[in-house]
């Protein structure tokens, strides 16, 4: 381009800039006109208003203006809590805990998931993947004795759990009805120690009408449209059956600020029964409900909104009752469905005072949690960052009432991988053993070359 051309273009540029400034000035004037004031919004994390729950009321509304779409008439009311003495803060301190160095107790060439401990605190329930299916087995961590209870075709589709009365393992799986069209049906299996003899306790479990409670209950919802489900005899043999006169899908209401994709896979409720059985917490994306067994009433716990511009509703992705039944510890998060999670944190609900505590942990993602036997402390596994593209984890002991946090085995980071969140760590019921994933991973890429479970002996002050 020659000099004259450049000069002409610069002149043109200058003229355009002046025009732009004039237009901008006019626009700014117009923008400065007073706008109608936006209504102030109350905190969505309002203190619940009634618990034990009140009867659902057509006019029940949360306190303050709704931050999300107006709830439908008849929406489940927010929980209110009885109130009472705040928890004592004079219990044993976090510094009383001692953790040993880890030792490898289980290995596998393919995936290996920790499903939990059996009540005896000696046997670990794991899923050991293999090319022809995933073996659901218990491993005695002292004798290394293995007992296979079943083969799950879709590894980890449902978390296996122990049925103490039957000395059996129950697990959900699915089978194809029409693989080309992607149609499946859910099967509830019960294995008693010989995988070939695992029984189909419930064929074609309707996910919207049945919730399998790992406390050994089949919760059947008889409300809503259609016939209430009938639990087959085989299921009644292994499970206590509880029928509830409503459909949990009717508890749902729009909580996301934008419309959701119509082809999202149905996500049923997860049930966790309070020790003693007085209440059951039901959660799914993005809800948490508490059901009072004695009064047959349900209420919603509002966990508030997530951070950032989206302010999506916060919801649990895992929940565990404290052994004494007072607290519900949860891993909570918020995101628009389909987006990656940008955080997950520990939230603890005190069901006496209604207080929701969210201790600040030095981690961006909390992935696994478990209670200490004393119901005062929570052990959390947290993703603290990435090294060579793979997450590094730390073990954090937390006192939810004080917010104190102690990093256990601080010299160690855990290259925990190879399992989904919630399948990477389990603290034995007696608090003396901690099972944690400790795989061998390639240096150059996050490929697991050997899956491993390590055991850490823990001395706790209770």
């Amino acid at each position: 381009m020659n000099r004259t051309g450049r000069r002409l273009l610069r002149s043109g540029l200058g003229l355009l800039l002046l025009l732009g400034l004039a237009a901008a000035a006019t626009w700014v004037i117009l923008q400065s006109r007073p706008r109608s004031p936006q209504a102030a919004q109350g905190s969505p994390l309002a203190t619940p208003t009634a618990w034990p729950p009140q009867p659902p009321s057509p006019t029940a509304r949360p306190p303050g203006p709704p931050p999300l779409p107006t709830p439908a008439a008849g929406r489940v009311p927010l929980c209110a809590f009885p109130g009472g003495t705040p928890p004592e803060r004079g219990g044993p301190g976090l510094d009383k805990y001692e953790f040993s160095e880890p030792r490898v107790v289980i290995t596998n060439t393919f995936a290996l998931d920790i499903a939990g401990w059996l009540p005896d605190s000696n046997r670990l329930l794991v899923i050991r993947s293999a090319p022809d299916g995933a073996l659901i087995e218990t491993v005695d961590v002292r004798s290394n004795a293995r007992t296979v209870y079943g083969v799950q075709q879709s590894r980890g589709y449902g978390r296996p759990f122990w049925l103490p009365q039957a000395q059996a393992v129950a697990y959900l799986d699915y089978e194809w009805l029409d693989q080309r069209r992607g149609l499946t049906r859910d099967i509830l299996w019960v294995g008693q120690g010989a995988p070939q003899q695992a029984q189909r306790a419930y064929d074609n479990v309707p996910p919207a009408s049945v919730v399998i409670d790992p406390g050994g209950y089949l919760i059947l919802f008889s409300g809503g449209a259609g016939q209430p489900p009938e639990a087959p005899e085989a299921a009644r043999h292994f499970f206590q059956v509880q029928s509830l006169p409503f459909a949990p899908d009717e508890w749902r209401y729009p909580k996301y600020p934008a419309s959701l994709s119509s082809n999202l896979r149905y996500q049923g409720f997860v049930a966790v029964r309070r020790p003693g059985g007085a209440h059951v917490a039901f959660y799914t994306d993005p809800y948490l409900f508490l059901f009072d067994n004695g009064q047959a009433r349900v209420c919603e716990v509002d966990l508030g909104l997530g951070p950032g511009e989206d302010r999506s509703p916060r919801f649990p992705i895992a929940a565990k009752w404290s052994p004494n039944g007072r607290y519900l510890a949860m891993i909570t998060t918020a995101r628009f469905p389909g987006q990656l999670l940008t955080f997950s944190g520990l939230t603890v609900l005190d069901t006496v005072t209604g207080e929701l505590s969210q201790p600040r942990l030095p981690t961006r993602y909390v992935t696994d949690i478990d209670w200490a036997p004393n119901s005062q402390h929570v052990l959390a596994l947290g993703d603290t960052g990435e090294v060579k593209g793979r997450p590094e984890f730390r073990l954090l002991l937390v006192d939810p009432t004080t917010g104190d946090v102690r990093q256990m085995l601080p010299q160690r980071t855990w290259g925990v991988t190879g399992s989904q969140w919630g399948w990477q760590m389990a603290w034995s019921p007696n608090g003396r053993e901690l099972a944690i994933k400790c795989p061998v991973v390639l240096d150059a890429e996050p490929t697991v070359v050997e899956s491993r479970v390590c055991l850490i002996s823990s001395h706790n002050p209770s």
């Binding site: 381009m1 273009l9 540029l13 800039l17 732009g20 400034l21 237009a23 901008a24 000035a25 626009w27 700014v28 004037i29 923008q31 400065s32 936006q38 102030a40 919004q41 905190s43 931050p67 393919f110 293999a130 299916g133 879709s154 590894r155 980890g156 589709y157 992607g182 499946t184 600020p257 994709s261 082809n263 999202l264 149905y266 996500q267 997860v270 994306d285 909104l305 950032g308 511009e309 989206d310 302010r311 992705i317 998060t333 628009f336 469905p337 990656l340 940008t342 997950s344 993602y365 992935t367 993703d383 593209g389 793979r390 190879g418 989904q420 969140w421 919630g422 890429e445 996050p446 490929t447």
Partner: protein, 363 residues
């Protein structure tokens, strides 16, 4: 309000004029220094809800229907959303099952494509403005080209996790036709980003000589208030002011280098919100925080976004002999502010402030 919107559009048009007043010299047919690849090899992992890798997608790991290996997954929960019905990605299994997979970068076939699924995941067309999705498409293509170009010096292969750019097969198909059209439009052309001249960069202890046609390291990230950050080895990753990301709810999410996805969404909408337009009114305010507000400028052109976030770059067209399609002289109006007395009484002089970024390639 309509007048205000029209004026804002005018400002946008002027900004475009500022950006494109000097059209680059036409390129003549010649031998290219960089031949854009057609395919890419990706190691596939089952992913967690935050995009971290878990286990290689492999029949032995029982995860071919888990999220990451497919968007039509069977493991919703834990923060993961699955599309229905369940369907594993039929790349090559069981004949034999291969991982890494090799797929066409621009491919449109459901089982043989890369960018359509990447762009759909990285900037959901249901949330982001189409122009921001268009900018993301060019950044994602450049990012893929870069990793192929520097494959011999980078440790480990490219994979489908958040460590690179998230690739979940079928993700594009989980959207409705309207959203898929946005992604298709974003991928029209084979535009990519290059440096303005030949240069040398040290990567993992290796000296790499790159030409002016080679792709840049087009890192991108989610969001950051007010400014982006520099990544010193790379001349195109220089921190820039990003004043539109000034709402108090803007988080620090990601490494801060290169294109800000949410920032791009804001510039295209002329809004302090990346996902909702300022007119007729911004989306419901995020209680109890400050309501969203209109910004003084908006950018309707995706090249503007890219030349704002990446320094000393050109956009090239790999489908046209790597021809440069961006002008040399470029300016980005970041903000127009006019402090004045209320009511603007006659005879009062006041000063207009225009925040201008030289996003061009010459001083």
């Amino acid at each position: 309000m309509t007048i205000a919107k029209d004026l804002q559009l005018l400002i946008g048009a002027i900004a475009v004029a500022l950006f494109s007043c000097l059209v680059s010299e036409p390129s003549s047919a010649r031998i290219v220094d960089f031949l854009a690849p057609e395919t890419i090899a990706v190691t596939m992992y089952e992913l967690t809800a935050n995009g971290a890798p878990i286990m290689r997608c492999d029949p032995g790991n029982g995860n071919l229907t888990r999220w990451g290996c497919t968007a039509y997954c069977d493991n919703p929960g834990n923060g993961i959303s699955c599309a229905s019905p369940v369907s594993s990605y039929p790349w090559s299994y069981p004949n034999p099952y291969q991982n890494p997979v090799t797929v066409q970068i621009e491919g449109a076939t459901v089982t043989n494509r890369y960018l359509r699924d990447v762009v759909s995941q990285e900037t959901s067309p249901a949330l982001f403005h189409a122009t921001a999705v268009g900018a993301q498409a060019i950044a994602a293509r450049t990012y893929a080209y870069w990793h192929i170009r520097t494959d011999d010096v980078t440790p480990g292969p490219l994979d489908n996790s958040r460590a690179y750019q998230v690739f979940v097969p079928y993700r594009y198909d989980t959207f409705g036709q309207g959203e898929r059209d946005i992604v298709d439009a974003a991928l029209q052309g084979r535009y990519y980003l290059s440096n303005i001249s030949d240069y040398t960069v040290n990567l993992y202890g290796h000296t790499v000589n790159l030409t002016a046609e080679d792709p840049i390291f087009a890192e991108f990230f989610a969001d950051r208030p007010l400014e982006t950050l520099s990544n010193p080895p790379h001349p195109n990753l220089v921190g820039v002011a990003d004043p539109i990301s000034s709402h108090p709810d803007v988080p620090s999410d990601g490494h801060g280098h290169g294109l800000s996805q949410d920032g791009a969404g804001r510039w295209t909408r002329g809004s302090s919100s990346y996902r909702c337009d300022p007119y007729p009114a911004p989306c419901p305010p995020p209680a109890p925080s400050v309501p969203f507000f209109a910004w003084s400028v908006s950018w309707p052109e995706r090249f503007q976004l890219l030349t704002h976030y990446y320094t000393a770059v050109h956009v090239r067209d790999a489908a046209n002999g790597n021809a440069i399609v961006t002008p040399t002289w470029r300016g980005a109006v970041l903000q127009v502010a006019w402090a004045r007395p209320r009511g603007y009484p006659d005879g009062i002089c006041s000063r207009i402030e225009v925040w201008l970024q030289n996003s061009g390639t010459s001083p």
